[in-house]
Symmetry: C3
Subunit: 323 residues, 3 copies
C-alpha cells in the first residue's frame, strides 16, 4: 500500500525552534525535518567554504555530560565553535564534582543557565532532559537520557539517508543488530514512520524490536519484515543501519558466539548489496563491520559523523533564534 | 550606635587593580568595592544587550583547579569567554597529571604563566594562592584556597545585596547555618564590617561563629546578636544568608537530625519574613531551603549565581588592565 | 674535525608543511628547522605586541590525549587559541569514554577528523601517531607516542638554544641525567647531529645513552664524551640539558641515593659554569635543579616553556597552510 504522505508536507519558511527545547524526535514532523535538513545543508556549504562563521558570536553553550561521550560532546562543541560561539564543557568528571554530590539536576541547570544561552545535557536517567527543561528558562538539548532519547542522533541518521540517496520516500531500510536496547534504532524508526518507506528488522531472537514499537510500525501501514539473517535483506536494502549486539545481553556466551557472525558486515556480504546503497552505523563499532569495508564508497558511517556536526550546528542556531 | 562610615568613602575613578593578584577580601575597601560593583553592573548591561564583547580578545586565562568545582570554574570560564578572551581549563583530573605528581605549585604556575595572561587557582591548601602569587608574574585570582579565602564569592554576595536591596548600609543581615567552617560567611562578614549594618548569627551551638571573628565584629561597633533559631530573626532580617550544616560535623547523628529542622527555610518560615527582603545561599544546597521557596520573588540564590559572572568579568577585565 | 655543514643549508621561503603530519624529528632538516624557527620568532613578536591574531580563525584543533599531560595539552591549546582558532580538548578521562572502550584508534581519529582541521595526539604506545596518520586525512601532530617521539618538544628545545645563544653551530652541549629512557634527549640529540656541535653525555652507568644512538652520534663525526659527573662538564658547557633520573629505574634504592647528588644542579655547581651558558630542563623537575638556581639568568627552563608555545603556533599555522 502506497501511503499518501507527500501531500501533507507543507513547506516551513520560518525557524520553528527559537527558544525551544529539543527533547524528542516526536517534535519533528516532515515540514520541520525538511526545514532542518535545508539548514544543515547550508551549514555544510558554509563549513566547506569558510570553515566557520560568527552567527553565534557572544552565545555560550554549556555541555553538561553526566556520562562521558567523547563523540557526542566533541560534535556539539565543534558545532558551537564553528558558529563562533563559546563553550563551557562540563564533562568527564562531573561525578567528582558538586553537581553530583547530592545536588539536584534542577538546581544544577538553574545555576548553569545563569551563565549560558543553551545547555546540552547527557544524563543516564530516562526523563532527565524533560525535568531539566521544566526548570530551565534557556533551551535544553537532550544529548541522550539513558534508555530514553538522543534526538540529534536520529536526526543526523535521517539527514544522512536524505543526503546520500537524495530522498527518503520509496527507500528500503534494514535495521540490523540489537533492536531491543538500541535507542538510535527506535528513534530513527519513529522518524521513518512519517515517510513512505519499507522496513526490515534483522536481529537475533533475544534482541528483537520491542513489541510496542513493532505495533506502531504495523499500524502505520508501512511494509515491514523481520528476519534473523542479514543475508535475507542484503540485496534488497537501500540502507543497512547496523548496530552492535552487546555480548553482555547474553547469559549464554556460546549462544552469542554462535550468532554474532550472522551480523558481521564483510566485503563478501557487501558483494551481494546493490550498487546504490549505504551502510550506516552510529559508532563506535566493535567488530560489526569489517575494517575492509571502510574503503567501499557505500560505507557511509564516517560521513554520518560529519553530518552530525551540521545537524547540531543547525539545531543550535535554530534554538538560539539565529536562523 | 550609628557609625559614621559614609564620609570615609571616596570615589575611585581609575582601575585600582591592573596587574594585581586577587587573593583576599582584605584588598577591598569601600571605594574599591563601589568601583568594582559599578563595573559589574556595566558588565551586566553589556551581557543583557549584546551577550558579550571583545574587551579581552587575545587574552588567555588558565583555570587551574586542583579540586573540582564545576560552579566556580564554569562561572570564570563563562566570564572570560563573554569578554572575548580564551580559556585553558585544567580541571577535573589535575590529580592524574604531572602538575600533581611531585611537581611544586610554584613550578606549575611558572610554567602556565608562560602561555597565559591570568591564572585562576583553586587549591585545597590554605595559603596556596599567596604562594602561587609570590612566584608568578601574571595575576593570580584565588578561587578558593581550602579553609582560607574565596574572595570572588564574598564579592558576588555583597554585590547581590547591593543590587537586590539598593544599598548595604542600614540593612539587617542574618547569617544562618554552619558559621564555624563556612568560608563564605567569614569573608562576607569581614566585608560587611565596612558598612553600617546590623548582624545576626544563627547556628547550632556546635558550629557557632569562631570567637576571633566574633570579636572582630564586636570591636567594629556593629550591632550583633547570636541565636539558635531562624524564627528569632526571620521577621527582622533584610537579608537571610543561608549555608549548609554538614552532617559530617556531628559525631552524634541524632543531634544533627534534631536540630536541622530549625534551619530549613520553608514557605511557612517565609510567611513571617518582610516583603522586601532576600534569601541568599552560596549553593549547592542539600535541603536547607525547600524547593517550594524557589518561586518566591525573595529567593535570590539563582540571581546570586548570575551576579557571580558579572563580578568575575569585572575582576578579570580589571586585573588585565582593560577597564 | 670541523664538519662542513653550513654550506649545505639552503634557505626555504615557502611553507614546507601544508597538510603535513608532524610525527618525527626526522622530518626536519636544517632548512626546515631554520624556516620553522623564523616563523616561531614571528609568532613571539606578534604575541608580545598583540597577544594573539586571527590567523587560524574558523580552524578547529582536537587535542586527543590518551594520557594526561597538562603541560603539553595546555601549550597546544594556548597556541591554537592565540591564533584565533578553536579547540576541542579530549583529555583527562579518555580512559572512561567510548574512545577507549574497545574502539580502535583509527576509528577514533576518523571520527574526530569529521569535525576538525588538525588533531594533536598523545598516546602511550610507540608508533600510534604513525597509525593515526595513516588513517586520517587531516594533519596529525604527534604530542608523544610512548617511548617513541615527541617532536615539538625537541623542536622547542633546539629553538631555545638558538634563541638564547644566538646560534647552534660551535656550541658545547651536555645532556645530563636519564639518557637511556629520556625521549627528549634522544630526539634533541638527533636534531643536533645536523649541526657542528660538541656533545657530552653525563649519566649514571645504569641509564647511559643507548648504544645505537651513541653509534649514530659517533658516525656523524661529532666530538662526543661520556662521563658520570656534572663536575666534568660544567665549566665547558654552553648548554646543560638536565633531565630527571627516575628512582623507579633502580632496583637498589641505596644505589640511587648515592648517585643522585652527582646530578643535582645547585648554585655551587653554577658558580663553576661559564657566564654565557644556559641550563635547560623539559620539566617537571623533581629535585634535579635547586630552586635557588631559578633566579640565575642562565636558568632557561621557564623561557623554554614559553618557546614551546611559539613553536606550536608555528607548527599549527604551517600544517594548516596559513604561513
Amino acid at each position: 500500500m502506497l501511503r499518501q504522505i507527500t501531500d501533507q508536507v507543507k513547506r516551513i519558511d520560518v525557524n520553528p525552534f527559537p527558544g525551544a527545547d529539543i527533547l524528542s524526535v516526536s517534535q519533528f514532523d516532515r515540514p520541520r525535518l525538511e526545514w532542518l535538513f535545508a539548514r544543515a545543508l547550508e551549514m555544510q556549504d558554509m563549513v566547506k567554504r569558510d570553515g566557520g562563521s560568527d552567527l553565534l558570536r557572544h552565545k555560550l553553550m554549556v555541555a553538561l555530560f553526566y556520562e562521558p561521550s567523547t563523540r557526542t560532546s566533541s560534535s556539539f562543541i565543534a558545532a558551537m565553535e564553528r558558529l563562533g560561539g563559546s563553550t563551557v564543557p562540563i564533562t568527564q568528571g562531573v561525578q567528582y564534582s558538586s553537581v553530583s554530590k547530592g545536588e539536584s539536576l534542577p538546581d544544577t541547570v538553574r545555576t548553569l543557565e545563569q551563565y549560558s544561552d543553551v545547555i546540552v545535557l547527557r544524563h543516564p536517567e530516562i526523563g532527565s532532559a524533560r525535568i531539566a527543561a521544566d526548570y530551565c528558562r534557556k533551551p535544553i538539548i537532550n544529548a541522550g537520557d539513558g534508555a530514553g532519547e538522543h534526538p540529534t542522533q536520529a536526526l543526523l541518521d535521517l539527514f544522512t539517508i536524505q543526503k546520500e540517496l537524495g530522498r527518503i520516500d520509496k527507500l528500503r531500510i534494514a535495521m540490523v543488530g540489537d533492536l531491543k536496547y538500541g535507542r538510535t534504532v527506535h528513534s530513527l524508526t519513529r522518524l521513518l514512520l512519517q515517510y513512505d518507506v519499507e522496513l526490515a528488522f534483522v536481529s537475533p531472537e533475544l534482541v528483537r524490536l520491542p513489541l510496542d514499537l513493532m505495533n506502531e510500525v504495523r499500524k502505520s501501514g508501512i511494509s515491514v519484515e523481520e528476519t534473523y539473517h542479514v543475508a535475507d535483506v542484503i540485496s534488497w536494502a537501500d540502507v543497512l543501519y547496523v548496530t552492535r549486539v552487546q555480548k553482555e545481553r547474553f547469559s549464554d556466551l556460546s549462544q552469542y558466539e554462535e550468532i554474532k557472525n550472522f551480523y558481521e558486515i564483510t566485503p563478501e556480504i557487501m558483494a551481494q548489496a546493490q550498487e546504490q546503497m549505504i551502510v550506516m552505523h552510529p559508532l563506535p563499532r566493535v567488530g560489526e563491520i569489517a575494517y575492509s569495508v571502510d574503503n567501499d564508497p557505500r560505507a557511509a558511517y564516517f560521513r554520518q559523523m560529519e553530518n552530525g556536526m551540521y545537524i547540531r550546528m543547525a539545531i543550535l542556531a535554530a534554538v538560539l533564534g539565529k536562523l
